[in-house]
Symmetry: C2
Subunit: 127 residues, 2 copies
DNA sequence: GATATAATTCAACTGTAGTTGAAGCATTGT
DNA sequence: ACAATGCTTCAACTACAGTTGAATTATATC
């Protein structure tokens, strides 16, 4: 099972994109509630099986969902939440959208800009 | 200032869609860091001012960003995070993607389905 | 081996949304 | 009044991604 260790902002953006599709969000929601095979999902969402398959594939490639075949009858496929990655996602979202991160405006532009006086500008190698 | 009181799953999906655009996510990130006027954002993201304006408008309509004009020179526009709504968003995300919500599979389909025996099915008005 | 079932894959279509480049608006300075 | 600044709006273009409907795969049953 692929586990994302340290999610970058890019990874975060990708997850957001994957989850921004309403049907996929519903699928994830149903998976979390314990529903798990293609036919059930399709029934509950009134969606053709190929579409369910497609969206599940996107969720799987994003590492949010795992797949498993029935031991007795391998025609049946069961999907499940990739818990470790969901934990990473949840933590990453909470950190990124934490209101505590909000900084007061630092005007470096416009009438209220805090301009560095010319005689304080030094020419150096620290770029 | 518009404040979202009780976010629905639909509202959540809409926020996800708005944030799924990489440049918008970057803009939100910069706003949280204290950068706030169109020109600054455009400079840091190497993006044309009309695009910044467009994306900010989307963020504003989603209730994630507030706008204010400079008191001294009204040509300058400052954008800021809508803190109350970000708090709602953060809480809603944390709740929705909480791994603790994950339920064990309840097979109602496939070989392992827990079928209700015929003699236990009652005919009533409780639909 | 032939048929049925559960799911996946494929090519073609379509609609949405980000981009482009130009015009427009509000405000300020000369 | 005129030009400049900062930003917004607009119509046309383009690309990506969800949908559609059919074909394909894999497994199981007769």
């Amino acid at each position: 099972m692929m586990v994302i260790e340290q999610p970058t902002t890019q990874q975060l953006a990708h997850w957001l994109k994957v989850l921004a599709e309403p049907r996929r969000l519903q699928i994830l929601n149903l998976l979390m509630a314990g529903v798990q095979c293609n036919c059930e999902l399709g029934e509950q969402l009134a969606l053709a099986p190929n579409l369910i398959s497609h969206h599940l594939s996107v969720l799987r490639k994003a590492g949010l969902v795992e797949v498993e075949r029935d031991a007795a009858d391998a025609r049946w496929v069961y999907y499940a939440i990739n818990r470790p990655n969901l934990e990473v996602l949840n933590t990453a979202f909470a950190a990124f959208f934490d209101p505590g991160r909000i900084q007061a405006r630092q005007p470096s532009c416009g009438p209220q800009a805090t301009v560095v006086p010319d005689d304080l500008i030094t020419v150096g190698c620290d770029s």
